[in-house]
Amino acid sequence: MSERHETAAGNGVLAIEGLTVAIGGKEILRGVDLTLEPGRVHGLAGESGSGKTMTGLAVLGLLPHGARVSGRIALAGRDLLSLPPKQLNAVRGAEVAMVFQDPATSLHPMLTVGRQLTEHMRHHLRLSRGEARERAIDLMRKVRIPGPEEAIGRYPHQFSGGMRQRIAIAVALACAPKVLIADEPTTALDVTVQAGILRLLRGLCDDLGLAVLLVTHDLGVMSAVADEVSVMKDGLMVETGPRGQVLVEPRHAYTRALLESLPENAGNAAAATAGAEPSEGEPA
């Protein structure tokens, strides 16, 4: 492993060590190690079914019923796997937040955006209704939703896909978490709005010092925004390291195969994603 990774592992805000998950006798994760650092985006790639989502859900204690877990997930000195339910619930949303793949289904269709933004703020941060509202409007502005005062009274179906994912990101950021897990946040979106979402995540990571785990199966996305890259296969991390190293000189045969299987090679895809203009809007 690279030197940079070694030194970073020491002060990681979230450290996963030897995480195994089994559901119904089937081993889904088989000893996953992963460290997230503040202000850095850690990309997690791997084919579908390799266990990327399960890794994210394990951190929040949201694995499917009947899942058996072992290993360690250390967050600021505590092991999340052995935390009592009540304390774990205090970590969810407040210290570790998650953005899901499809904003069309991960936002509640019958609750206003404002309510979904303020509810957990009021619960975790003990804010008054007015304070929470102010903060919600700020957040909407931060993720660049036009007309935030009016927008918080609307429902998710009144926004476009890209806007919805921005709102989901605002919801995740509402309680100023230290760690953000973004599970394929652009997969369900139009190609035209993907770059905007990635740029937003990158910017938030830099501005707020967030530790971001960016799950994606798109190595192009990966090379555009990730600082570190990990590659998973069949519940195992097969490669971890700085972006340049993993994507340019992959050590593991599987990573090479993944890179070669891209329709265009990874370098071109990366250029295409990174080249999108920052000011480019998205269809409303």
Binding site: L62, G93, T105, H108
Partner: protein
């Protein structure tokens, strides 16, 4: 009309629709829910008109001569008496005219004269309908509370003991015929165990509460007559439960599967990821969407619950509209049959209107579209 008043009238007539339209436009934009509500109510009123027509036509299609059913054997033989009777009851006029007479009567609260009780049908309905509404209303309330409550418990305790018990109970409720249950309940609880009061709406020695709504429990509570209230509620509970059991079973099963379905949704997992307390997730994130299919089924089930009242009323000697309908239908008392048909139709309409409006209340995508 004086010539001076004419122009001003014209102006008013010309201006009013415009400004009214403008006001309506503003109301619609600011209160999409109000517009949604108004649309539903107008639809319901049109349907009500349709019901008057349908009940009228159906009633007149019934084979059998009302004159024969209502005049004695001797009178039937005399054409003059029959003609006189038909003229008295407006039956000699053409059907469309009969309908208009009927409709204008209905609009004035006049449903004609019952040929059986020799009283205005409106008076009969005013006497019997509240009793049925009280019985059916109580049954609906009970089945909503218990059915939804049981369904939520079954879903949250899936595959555990409570779920298994509720599955068996709801299956029992769905498969047992209401009339059989009514007979058994009456026999066991009243005749054998003597823990429930007998038939009727109130203890025989008691005076009904002063009339306000016609619902004895409500009227007694309004008047503060708590002994009367206790008696009325005691008489109500067994027939209402019997009537509700089928719907309780149905709603338990539907609520269970609806809640389980919603629990698997992304937005519930996302709500958990926010660290919200379980009770907030259940009541705000899960129950609300789960109620949509439950309401649909409930609306339909309440229809069959209403027809169940006829049997339950007969067995518990409940003086409701079911028994009145049965007697009127068998004696071809057409005004009474039409009156009952109209009332039942309007009750269905109201249930449907409530269901429609609830969709809008629960789901913004319905009311904002």
């Amino acid at each position: 009309m004086s010539p001076t008043s004419a122009p001003s009238k014209d102006r008013a007539g010309g201006a009013a629709p415009d400004s009214r339209k403008a006001v309506r436009g503003r109301v619609a934009r600011r209160h999409p829910f109000a517009r949604f509500l108004v649309r539903r109510i107008i639809t319901a009123l049109l349907l009500a008109l349709g019901i008057t027509l349908v009940t009228f036509i159906l009633t007149n299609l019934v084979p059998g001569d009302p004159a024969a059913a209502n005049l004695g054997q001797r009178a039937i033989g005399d054409p003059a008496i029959v003609a006189q009777w038909r003229a008295d009851h407006g039956l000699d006029k053409p059907l469309p005219q009969q309908y208009l007479v009927h409709l204008s009567g209905v609009l004035h609260g006049d449903f004609g004269q019952s040929q059986q009780s020799h009283r205005p049908v409106a008076d009969d309905l005013a006497e019997f309908v509240p009793a049925t509404l009280e019985l059916a209303g109580a049954a609906i309330l009970i089945s909503l509370v218990l059915g939804v409550g049981f369904g939520v418990v079954a879903a949250l305790r899936r595959d555990r003991l409570a779920d298994h018990i509720l599955r068996v109970t709801s299956l029992f409720g769905i498969s047992v015929p209401t009339f059989w249950l009514a007979l058994v309940a009456f026999y066991v609880f009243f005749y054998r165990l003597q823990i429930t009061p007998g038939s009727g709406r109130i203890d025989p020695g008691m005076t009904p509460p002063p009339h306000a709504t016609g619902l004895y429990t409500v009227d007694a509570a309004l008047a503060g007559q708590w002994d009367v209230f206790a008696s009325a509620a005691g008489h109500l509970v067994t027939p209402a439960l019997v009537l509700a059991l089928y719907t309780i079973g149905l709603l338990t099963r539907f609520t269970r599967s609806a809640v389980l379905e919603v629990l698997g949704q992304d937005y519930v997992r996302a709500a958990r990821a926010k660290g919200l307390p379980g009770r907030v997730i259940l009541f705000r994130y899960v129950l609300r969407p789960a109620l949509v299919p439950v309401i649909t089924v409930a609306g339909l089930a309440f229809g069959s619950l209403l027809s169940g009242t006829v049997l339950v009323e007969a067995i518990f000697a409940w003086p409701g509209v079911g028994q009145y309908a049965y007697k009127s239908a068998t004696s071809l008392d057409l005004p009474a049959v039409m009156g009952v048909g109209l009332v039942v139709g309007v009750v269905y309409l109201v249930i449907n209107l409530i269901v429609d409006v609830l969709y809008g209340v629960i789901d913004p995508r319905v009311r904002l579209s």
